[in-house]
């Protein structure tokens, strides 16, 4: 078995997401879906409900009277917020695992994913892009391939790094050369196994190479640029560091200006720390109604 085959066989045995999680994530891709549908799914998962309420009651949102139900949370903070918290919480509980081959702790990987999701959401809103739900979710899971590829990267790290330095390859291109597959492709295979909607699979697959797809979308461009910006800024990065490229065509297609990018940065860093606070341990209100 060559390395690529070993990787792919590992990927097919990668843990599955809980059924509720798959349903919720699938819904994020449907712009026609009534956002209250999300509440209907969340309410059957007590841990998820507790997390949403905990986040809604975090100091950052600062309500004097505690939020005690999902309906109330939707009413007070908006369904879009409930959705973002629910999806983030889902990924936080299921995918906050280390990728040691990249020297990424679970917290680092989570922080990077959250930063890219918030940056992507910010760009969606500044550019008035459609289907922001799928873009947010795609951004949140764009690096899941690193979890599965981690042990192979750990074994071949010296060789991969040599190829990066000698050939001016990006870290992902060097993964492909040495392991036969890069973390973006591995992530896309996992997402396909989890039956994620195609737009999310495409965002994962092309997040380092938007030029590779025959069907370019705004979502792929946005997540590619958001990821590049967060890597550049050092938000939750590992030893692969800043050894990636940002495709200029994506920037041109999105018509991004320097000022717009910097404004997005200043906003994302503030919301990142607010979001991180939400996921640290805070008391859940006693009377939780579902």
């Amino acid at each position: 078995m060559n390395i690529r085959e070993s990787v792919v066989s590992k990927v097919t045995s990668f843990p599955t997401l809980p059924y509720m999680a798959q349903r919720l994530l699938s819904l994020t891709n449907d712009p026609e879906a009534d956002l209250s549908e999300i509440g209907k799914i969340v309410q059957y998962d007590p841990a998820l409900t507790a997390n949403v309420l905990k986040a809604a009651n975090s100091a950052f949102l600062g309500f004097s009277k505690p939020v005690e139900s999902l309906t109330e949370a939707s009413f007070r903070i908006g369904t879009n917020w409930v959705f973002q918290i629910a999806v983030s919480s889902l990924i936080y509980s299921n995918l906050r695992v280390p990728a040691e081959g990249y020297e990424l702790s679970g917290e680092d990987l989570w922080r990077h994913s959250l930063a890219v999701a918030l940056m992507a959401e910010n760009l969606c809103s500044l550019l008035k892009a459609e289907n922001a739900g799928a873009v947010f979710t795609g951004a949140l899971v764009h690096d899941i391939g690193k979890i599965a590829l981690s042990e192979f990267v750990a074994e071949e790290y010296e060789t991969i790094q040599k190829v990066v330095t000698k050939n001016n390859f990006s870290f992902e291109e060097a993964e492909e050369k040495i392991l036969g597959v890069g973390h973006a492709e591995v992530g896309a295979i996992i997402a396909e196994n989890w039956r994620f909607p195609k737009p999310i699979v495409d965002i994962i697959r092309w997040h380092h190479h938007p030029e590779g797809t025959e069907e370019p979308t705004v979502g792929i461009d946005i997540v590619h640029v958001a990821d590049s910006l967060c890597l550049m800024q050092g938000l939750g990065i590992g030893r692969d560091g800043l050894q990636y490229r940002c495709n200029n065509d994506s920037i041109l297609r999105l018509k991004l200006s320097n000022d717009l990018i910097e404004v997005a940065f200043s906003q994302v860093v503030s919301s990142l720390s607010n979001f991180e606070d939400m996921f640290t341990d805070k008391p859940v209100p006693n009377k939780v109604r579902m």
Partner: protein
């Protein structure tokens, strides 16, 4: 030894000799250390963007987010704590970029240019620096000695 983490947009000053100030994962951000070896007062900033004009309200709330507001604020704070501007030893790290970055956001390079400009106005020279490239760096300042180190993925630990 008390480790004080200086996060993005934060400024920290101290005269406690047991403190070690650390800025983790500097990419295009600049981490700057200042230290007065006589008063044994030191400080650190990790700023992310060069100029505050893009978000003046944010700059008021968090001056450490921008080079043009954060660096003067750091200098003011260490001087308020007893440091003398003339004696300050200033060292910098960060300002990295992605591979072949020739597009819109040369934030790392611009962050560094702003630093040179502000220190120039204040007649302060950078004593040592580790700037640019595609590295992620961790910068540390020991308050007891003023020792500054930079750790990076494949450069190991170097002393500035």
């Amino acid at each position: 030894m008390a480790l004080k983490i200086v996060g993005i947009s934060e400024i920290y000053v101290s005269k406690n000799p047991t403190d070690e100030l650390v800025a983790h994962s500097l990419g295009s951000c600049i981490g700057l250390t200042v230290y007065d070896p006589v008063a044994k007062v030191g400080g650190m900033i990790q700023y992310m963007l060069p100029l505050s004009k893009i978000a003046p309200a944010k700059a008021k709330d968090k001056p450490g987010m921008f080079g043009d507001t954060g660096v003067p604020e750091l200098l003011r704070k260490v001087c308020d704590m007893g440091a003398s501007k003339e004696r300050l030893i200033v060292k910098a790290a960060g300002g990295s970029e992605l591979l072949d970055q020739n597009n819109l956001f040369k934030i790392g390079e611009r962050n560094y240019l702003v630093l040179r400009k502000i220190l120039g106005i204040n007649n302060i020279l950078i004593k040592a620096e580790d700037i640019g490239g595609n590295l992620s760096r961790t910068l540390k300042l020991e308050l007891s000695t003023g020792r500054v180190t930079v750790k990076s993925a494949f450069g190991g630990v170097i002393e500035l």
